[in-house]
């Protein structure tokens, strides 16, 4: 049946059609919707894991026990689950096992631009790369077959433009879910040196076998497309870049690699021999190019194209043809200068009040990954560092160690509830164990916000929004060794109380945790209740501008300098009320 599907939705469909038993993932743009879509198939066990390593290990367990399993992540998530990936390569599988990883060239929603293809080569795991939604469905299904046929995990590499583009998919009926028998087999599954030495041989033989099989069936085993057209120009490409190639040089011959690792030398040499000029078109690293050059094949690649960002058909046209490039209809030099429009913290966002407190305190802030990363931008400008999931805690500890505790009097780490459960716990345990004096602020908005509101182990709901056990952040911190009196809970909207409590904890010469707790304004428990609203008493207003400086999207200053509240977008959080010293703002009680 024909349907229009997001690439991620089509991956979910492909896994469903392949009879996947279990999917466990941590959300991350641009991969999140895969697991959300899987959750809509009630026969599949599907869950949010606290991090990618947990997701991967659970999937490996299901595979070894005999069920087909998948784990999905964004590119940086693969760093987190690299450890199980590399050794699952040695154990191989029982039920088919797929690691799905979505890269983000251009960094639409990421902290770096790493190229996941390097993981396939490094872990010696085959990698498939689809170019549109229908290929997402077909390649995902094939990934499970390939995994079982060659006794290996398979990585499916996606791309923002593949994951987040909708195109037509032709669905078929799913295979039934089957669970294979499990036989105890320590030489296969116990990776200690005595067994692993033997398994490394198996891994190298497996790679050779795949290469040989691709050579005999490039369009079958390799899922390659060999499109011979004009042979004066031949392009080797993969993934999203294939689409730009087809638009830019429609007459060129193309070898589109479906299996981007391992590479079959004979397929590449055969294609190279049929064209006059060979160009490798791939975004990010010269991954294919390096391999192709190592085969002794002459080609062009990164001397023409950049290592940075996304490619476009225009860029390819410019470098590969003498065609005239399209000109805009509108002379943009004649248009007015326009203000930028960066993303902002929402009306009613609980992070706002907390960041205002940090700004007043003028402290160093080691930050983390989430909506609250926006605290680094104007108007807050209250976040000093952002590296990766969980780094806020470890880096605050590093500030403490660099200064023999001195900077712990003026440094806080800031991390969300979901990110804390992902990678903050071990860091906090380390800080306590090694007698740091850090103050950690957990921004507990009861959801994984930035990726589009996914549940996590502290929210009390599972991926299907059914009731689930909820971890208590207070008890968790206490069990890690944080003293009970150094665990404080505040409402971030009460920005002055936040400031006071943070000040007290900065002074405390042990590890402190301040939990700033209020649900995200975009989830049901955080939304404004009907009939409540914030109001301005213009007789009381002295036009001091304090309410305007919180930069709430629901509060606009009029030409006369008075605040005007947009009732439709106001969340009634009361932050503007709290910062008004003249009692001009009020809100109806809930």
């Amino acid at each position: 049946m024909k349907k229009i599907m997001l690439g991620n939705e089509a991956v979910a469909r492909g896994a469903y059609e392949a009879g996947v038993k279990f999917v466990s993932s941590y959300p991350g743009t641009p991969s999140t919707e895969i697991t959300e879509e899987i959750a809509k198939y009630p026969e599949v066990a599907c869950e949010w894991a606290p991090n990618e390593k947990c997701g991967a290990e659970a999937a490996i367990g299901c595979s070894v026990r005999g069920g087909r399993a998948m784990t999905c992540m964004k590119h940086v998530g693969m760093n987190v689950c690299a450890d199980p990936l590399f050794t699952a390569s040695y154990t191989g599988v029982n039920g088919g096992l797929v690691f799905c990883v979505a890269d983000d060239p251009g960094m639409h929603s990421s902290q770096n631009e790493q190229d996941s293809r390097n993981y396939a080569r490094a872990s010696k795991v085959p990698m498939l790369e689809p170019s549109d939604s229908e290929e997402c469905r077909v390649f995902t299904k094939y990934a499970f077959e390939m995994s079982e046929k060659y006794d290996t995990p398979v990585i499916l590499r996606l791309h923002t433009r593949v994951s987040h583009s909708r195109s037509v998919v032709d669905t078929v009926e799913p295979e039934s879910i089957t669970i294979k028998d499990y036989d105890k087999n320590p030489p296969k599954y116990v990776m200690m040196p005595a067994y692993a030495i033997g398994k490394h041989v198996v891994v190298e033989d497996r790679t050779k076998k795949i290469i040989d099989d691709v050579a005999t069936a490039p369009e079958g085993v390799g899922l390659h497309k060999i499109e011979m057209r004009d042979t004066s120009l031949g392009i080797i490409t993969d993934g999203a870049a294939y689409q730009y190639v087809r638009d830019a040089v429609p007459n060129a011959s193309v070898l589109k690699l479906g299996l981007v690792w391992p590479l079959s030398e004979s397929v590449i040499k055969d294609f190279a021999s049929k064209v006059d000029r060979l160009v490798v078109v791939e975004e990010l690293d010269p991954f294919l190019e390096t391999e192709i050059r190592a085969m002794g094949v002459k080609c062009e690649g990164k001397e023409l194209f950049t290592l940075l960002g996304e490619y476009t058909a225009r860029l390819l046209k410019e470098k590969l043809t003498s065609d005239e490039l399209p000109e805009p209809a509108i002379d943009v030099s004649k248009l007015p200068q326009i203000p930028g429009r960066p993303p902002v913290l929402c009306a009613g966002c609980p992070h706002k009040g907390l960041f205002l407190a940090l700004k007043r305190l003028k402290v160093n802030v080691t930050g983390d990954i989430g909506c609250y990363t926006l605290g680094a931008l104007p108007p807050m400008q209250a976040v000093d560092t952002v590296v990766c999931m969980g780094a806020s805690v470890g880096m605050a500890h590093g500030f403490d160690k660099a200064t023999d505790h001195e900077d712990s009097r003026k440094t806080v780490g800031v991390i969300g509830d979901s990110t804390f459960l992902h990678s903050g716990i071990t860091n906090l345990m380390n800080a306590v164990y090694n007698e740091s004096q850090i103050t950690l602020i957990i921004l507990d908005n009861s959801i994984t916000g930035m990726t589009g509101h996914q549940q996590n182990p502290s929210t009390g709901k599972n991926i299907r929004l059914e009731a689930a056990p909820a971890v208590s952040l207070e008890k968790l911190c206490e069990s890690l060794g944080v003293r009970p009196e150094a665990i404080r809970v505040v409402d971030p909207v009460d920005t002055f109380e936040c400031e006071k409590v943070i000040k007290e904890e900065l002074a405390r010469e042990v590890v402190s945790v301040v939990i700033a707790r209020r649900p995200c304004a975009l989830i049901p428990t955080g939304r404004a209740k009907k009939g409540v609203e914030a109001k301005v008493d213009y007789d009381m207003c002295r036009k001091c501008g304090a309410c305007g400086r919180i930069m709430c999207p629901a509060l606009i200053m009029d030409a006369g300098g008075f605040p005007v509240i947009d009732a439709e977008s106001c969340n009634n959080c009361g932050l503007c009320v709290n910062v008004c010293r003249f009692g001009a703002l009020s809100k109806t009680e809930e």
Binding site: K2, K3, I4, L6, T29, P30, T32, H108, S109, D132, R161, H164, S165, R166, S167, V168, Y242, Q243, Y244, R246, D247, E310, T312, A313, R314, L325, P326, E327, P328, A329, I330, D331, V332, K334, L335, P336, Q337, I338, P339, G340, R341, P342, P343, V344, L345, C346, C371, T373, L374, P378, P379, M450, T451, G452, G548, M551, P553, I556, M557, E568
Partner: protein, 201 residues
């Protein structure tokens, strides 16, 4: 001939204005017409009130999902100043539909920059005979149906005047796109009609 449609459509706006749903609806429309289609969306960080864009490409065969400089047949700007941001995508002979709603962005709220005036006039002057600029109060028309949330459908109604698909096909696509929220279908159909009438030059 319906199957001759070859259109690149840019849906530009501010996170939360419904560009994603408009893109999805165009995807359904194209598929119902038996055409190939790609709809490219931006998720994640920029959705938080930032500038967002969705590309829709409809043709017998579509490759790249991205619409580049000087190649868009249509630019639908859901907010006035966003039309300037994406103006360079419009191709010669193309049509730009501009919702005249103004949403102040952070640099404006902070007083660092002024929200520009006479945007539509500037666009018309800069386009000359090269393109058609169609201003429309889509948010105002949407509010007439009882909500600002149908702004996206008003915009599609305006587009329907310039796009070779029957009105019945559009209405069918609206019904399919909102099938899971059936209550909203009459309001959306009315928003579509309002846009279709207002968007005729």
């Amino acid at each position: 001939m319906e199957n001759q449609i070859n259109a690149s459509i840019v849906l530009a706006g501010v996170g939360g204005q419904g560009t994603l749903i408009a893109g999805k609806l165009l995807g359904i429309l194209a598929m119902n017409l038996g055409l190939d289609v790609k709809v490219s969306e931006v998720h994640g960080m920029s959705q938080r009130g930032g500038s967002v864009v969705t590309y829709v490409k409809i043709a017998p065969e579509v490759h790249s999902p991205i619409i580049e400089e000087g190649t868009a047949d249509f630019v639908l700007s859901f907010e006035e100043v966003e039309s300037v941001r994406w103006a360079k995508l419009l191709k010669k002979g193309g049509t730009m539909i501009v919702n005249t709603q103004k949403i102040k962005s952070l640099p404006v709220l902070m007083g660092q920059m002024k929200y520009p005036e006479n945007v539509v006039e500037s666009l018309k002057a800069a386009a000359g005979d090269n393109a058609t600029i169609v201003p429309i109060d889509a948010t105002g028309l949407s509010l007439e149906t009882g909500t600002s949330k149908a702004t996206n459908i008003v915009m599609l109604g305006a587009l329907s005047n310039y796009f070779g698909a029957d009105e019945a096909e559009w209405k069918k696509a609206i019904e399919e796109a909102f099938a899971s929220k059936a209550k909203t279908i009459p309001g959306n159909l009315s928003a579509f009609e309002k846009g279709r009438t207002a968007g005729r030059v």
